[in-house]
């Protein structure tokens, strides 16, 4: 049995932790919130220099080619530090879309820039509230030109490139869909900043007016490709969520030990002790599910879709619970702007919505159970 990260991977995690505890403190997050900036450009640049963005990108495409297990431990630390950088959108989503659907030429052209964090990329799926279904996709791709509107696009104000889900023909259902790769610096692209739950993961509305774009992968395979990308992103971002949940637990624990009421640390009251114990249990379960996802992702196992859904659901539940009960443990100061709790509360919700709602993943999971018949 060898179901844990290797010593080298743990060392990499430790290095990432050390770097971020110096370069990405809660002050860093607060600065982004209060400056009105969308992310910390300097930190993003350093992350590029460290090669983290390319950890899982093959060397032939300019990455370090370390592998996904290495990327997972890095993402966990980014999540722990609430790093205000476009890592998830660029590395966990955009890059994975290229890896899943991109041609060699497309990969060679863009992955090296991702690996160096020279570009920011994003994935644009949503056109409005509710379900994302083939029939709801109105953005069109005709004669190489992209037209339409996407909303709530992650890091949409900063992204240089986007992978966009579009309708490429009038056929019904999935067959009409296509993923396209678009350079957002072109004329015809209009961006509008949108207010969102987590300003350090700013979202934007992108309008396309006959913008030249290139197909990414085959028409008709876009829907299944997209779901493969989402599965892979779900596993990576589950580590981000586990990291966040773990920080909430540690913050709540530290505060409860330090805070005295009625002559005792509030950590000595069962209401607090049992709350923190539940946080711990949820986070451990989420961590174990995330590990299984990491294994599936790193080996390309056929269990990947099931592992991805389980990792995401478990991590989302753990982070949501830890973030809100950390505020509760802090009491009055917990919901003030001055304390950091609300950054995590907002990030937890942001990450829960980023790759689609819980119900979608729960449905996916049970579908996989029905297929595998091995719950």
């Amino acid at each position: 049995m060898n179901f844990d990260f290797s010593d080298d991977q743990k060392m990499l995690k430790e290095q990432a932790h050390k770097f971020l505890s110096e370069k990405c403190t809660p002050k860093t997050v607060r600065a982004v919130y209060e400056s009105g900036k969308t992310h910390d450009a300097a930190l993003w640049k350093q992350i590029g220099e460290l090669g983290w963005a390319g950890a899982a990108i093959p060397e032939e495409f300019g990455g370090l080619g370390l592998g996904y297990l290495e990327l997972c431990v890095i993402v966990e630390e980014l999540g722990r530090a609430l790093a205000p950088v476009p890592f998830s959108s660029t590395v966990c989503q955009f890059a994975e879309a290229l890896i899943v659907s991109g041609s060699n030429e497309q990969k060679s052209r863009l992955l090296p820039k991702v690996a160096a964090a020279e570009i920011i990329g994003t994935l644009a799926r949503t056109e409005g509230p509710g379900a994302i279904l083939p029939k709801n996709i109105r953005t069109t791709f005709k004669g190489g030109k992209l037209s339409g509107k996407k909303t709530a696009v992650g890091d949409g104000m900063d992204a240089h490139f986007a992978v966009v889900l579009v309708r490429a023909s009038d056929e019904p259902g999935e067959r009409a869909l296509q993923l396209v790769l678009v350079d957002l610096s072109q004329p015809g692209v209009t961006r509008r900043a949108q207010d969102s739950i987590d300003p350090s993961r700013a979202r934007a509305e992108l309008t396309f007016d006959n913008v030249p774009a290139e197909p990414l992968g085959k028409q008709g395979e876009a829907w299944s490709d997209l779901n493969r990308v989402l599965d892979r992103a779900a596993i990576l971002m589950a580590f981000e969520q586990v990291g966040g949940a773990d920080t909430c637990l540690q913050m709540a624990r530290a505060y409860a030990m330090d805070r005295y009421a009625f002559g005792r640390p509030i950590a000595s009251f069962q209401a607090i002790k049992h709350k923190l114990a539940d946080m711990y249990v949820n986070t451990e379960l989420a961590r174990s599910n995330a590990y299984y996802g990491a294994w599936a992702l790193s080996t390309g196992a056929r269990e990947l879709p099931l592992a991805a859904a389980a990792a995401r659901i478990s991590a989302t539940q753990a982070f949501d619970y830890a973030a809100k009960e950390s505020i509760q443990t802090h009491g009055g100061v917990g919901f003030t702007w001055e304390y950091d709790c609300h950054f995590y509360y907002k990030r937890a919700r942001e990450l829960s919505l980023a790759l689609g709602a819980q119900r979608v993943w729960k449905d996916k999971l049970v579908t996989q159970l029905e297929l595998s018949n091995a719950a």
Binding site: A152, A271, G331, L353
Partner: protein
């Protein structure tokens, strides 16, 4: 069993309606004006004071108070009836005066001198002067009595130093009642003394507290060598906690009751009707329907619990303990329900404000919910209160009982 007024209630409702018709217009929309942020803006405040004054002339400002102090000597049920009727009209909020009239002035009436009663009650009733309550402190939290703000005797005066927190309305208040520590060598509850003071006194500084939502509904208040005469003492020296208890009892009821105008099942039902999920309209989704039902039975249960409480009032009885459950039901439900609504919206649910569905009402509710679970008693404190006061279970073990306050463990 019915929902009808008693003959007396019906008669009073008729009077109240007549007066309201003569002095206000019926609401056109169904918005709740009781929000504190609104009262921060000056024009609303001016309007509020004007409306308050009108009510005061008629005795409706606090109609359960005796006539001598400007009330009608009315029953609690008449108060309820008036609020029900008033809520139907497009009038300025009475929020800014609730703390003063609900907590501070009753304390002044109970413990103040004839002179101070004569001086302060009427202006407060008319809304000419607004009062705030200065108990909570950074060091206190759920353990209110652990406050550290010192009041030291200096001749006939007292000199106050320290700071208070979570003070609602301090930014527009003229006066406040402040609980201070006058004997640090006495056990926690025994060394306290209550005063009232002008918020305009030299050395009083008010700073708004910015919340996670970005808004500010509370303040910090700092006291630097604030000097007040002994005549502004309420109750005996060292008896401050007994004085405060009455006040606090009112607060729990006030906050506990203040759950109107909140997002709830109707708004979620509406959202579910508008949204399409993967398998069709959200309202047809079995999981959504179960959530709607679960939350509805809690909201309805609370609504009819309130009716039971009103019935007790209407029958001239003491309301039962069931009143104490409101906030513990409402606050966690609001947090879960609003998060669920965001999940229904999907990725677009991360948008807020004008970019979001319903102008981000669910998102805003979700941002405010943590505060609601804490302000006026955390979920945990409220469970303790129900366990101890309603079910008669033993209090938590108290290690700081009978210990001099300055010797009690603080971890420092």
């Amino acid at each position: 069993m019915d929902f009808e007024d008693s003959p007396e209630e019906a008669k009073f409702r008729k009077e109240a309606r007549a007066w309201l018709d003569a002095n206000a217009k019926l609401k056109t929309t169904n918005t709740d004006a009781g929000e504190l942020k609104e009262t921060e803006d000056k024009t609303t405040l001016t309007a509020a004071k004007a409306w308050q004054a009108k009510k005061a002339e008629k005795g409706y400002a606090r109609l359960t108070w005796p006539k001598e102090v400007g009330g009608l000597g009315g029953t609690p049920m008449q108060q309820v009836v008036f609020h029900q009727e008033e809520a139907r009209y497009d009038v300025a909020p009475s929020g800014p005066f609730n703390i003063g009239l609900g907590m501070c002035i009753p304390t002044v009436m109970a413990y103040g001198s004839k002179e101070s009663i004569a001086r302060y009650v009427k202006p407060a009733l008319r809304g000419d002067e607004i009062w705030c309550q200065l108990f909570s402190e950074p060091a206190g939290g759920s353990d209110v009595a652990a406050l550290r703000t010192r009041a030291e005797k200096d001749g006939d005066d007292w000199v106050i130093n320290g700071s208070k927190v979570w003070t609602t309305g301090a930014q527009f208040s003229d006066y406040g009642i402040v609980l201070t520590r006058t004997d640090p060598n006495a056990p926690k509850h025994k060394g306290l003394t209550m005063f009232y003071l002008s918020m305009k006194s030299p050395g009083v500084e008010v700073k708004p507290i910015k919340q996670a939502s970005g808004a500010s509904g509370f303040n910090e208040v700092f006291f630097t060598d604030v000097r007040i005469p002994d005549a502004q003492r309420l109750g005996e020296v060292g008896q401050g906690w007994q004085v405060a208890l009455t006040t606090l009892m009112h607060e729990r009821l006030a906050v506990g009751g203040g759950t109107g105008g909140m997002l709830d099942v109707p708004q979620l039902l509406q959202l579910a009707r508008e949204l399409d999920l993967e398998d069709g309209p959200a309202i047809k989704n079995a999981a959504v329907r179960e959530k709607l039902a679960d939350w509805y039975v809690r909201s309805a249960g609370l609504k009819y619990t309130t009716y039971r409480t009103m019935t007790a009032l209407s029958r001239g009885q003491q309301p039962g303990p069931e009143a104490s459950i409101a906030k513990i039901v409402v606050a966690p439900k609001l947090q879960d329900l609003s998060a669920f609504a965001m999940e229904l919206e999907g990725e677009a649910g991360a948008l807020t404000g004008s970019d979001a569905l319903d102008d981000g009402a669910f998102q805003l509710a979700w941002l405010n919910a943590p505060g609601l679970r804490i302000a006026g008693g955390t979920d945990e404190i409220l469970r303790n209160i129900i366990a101890e006061r309603v079910l008669g279970l033993p209090p938590d073990i108290r290690v700081d009982k009978n210990v001099p306050f300055n010797k009690a463990p603080t971890g420092r």
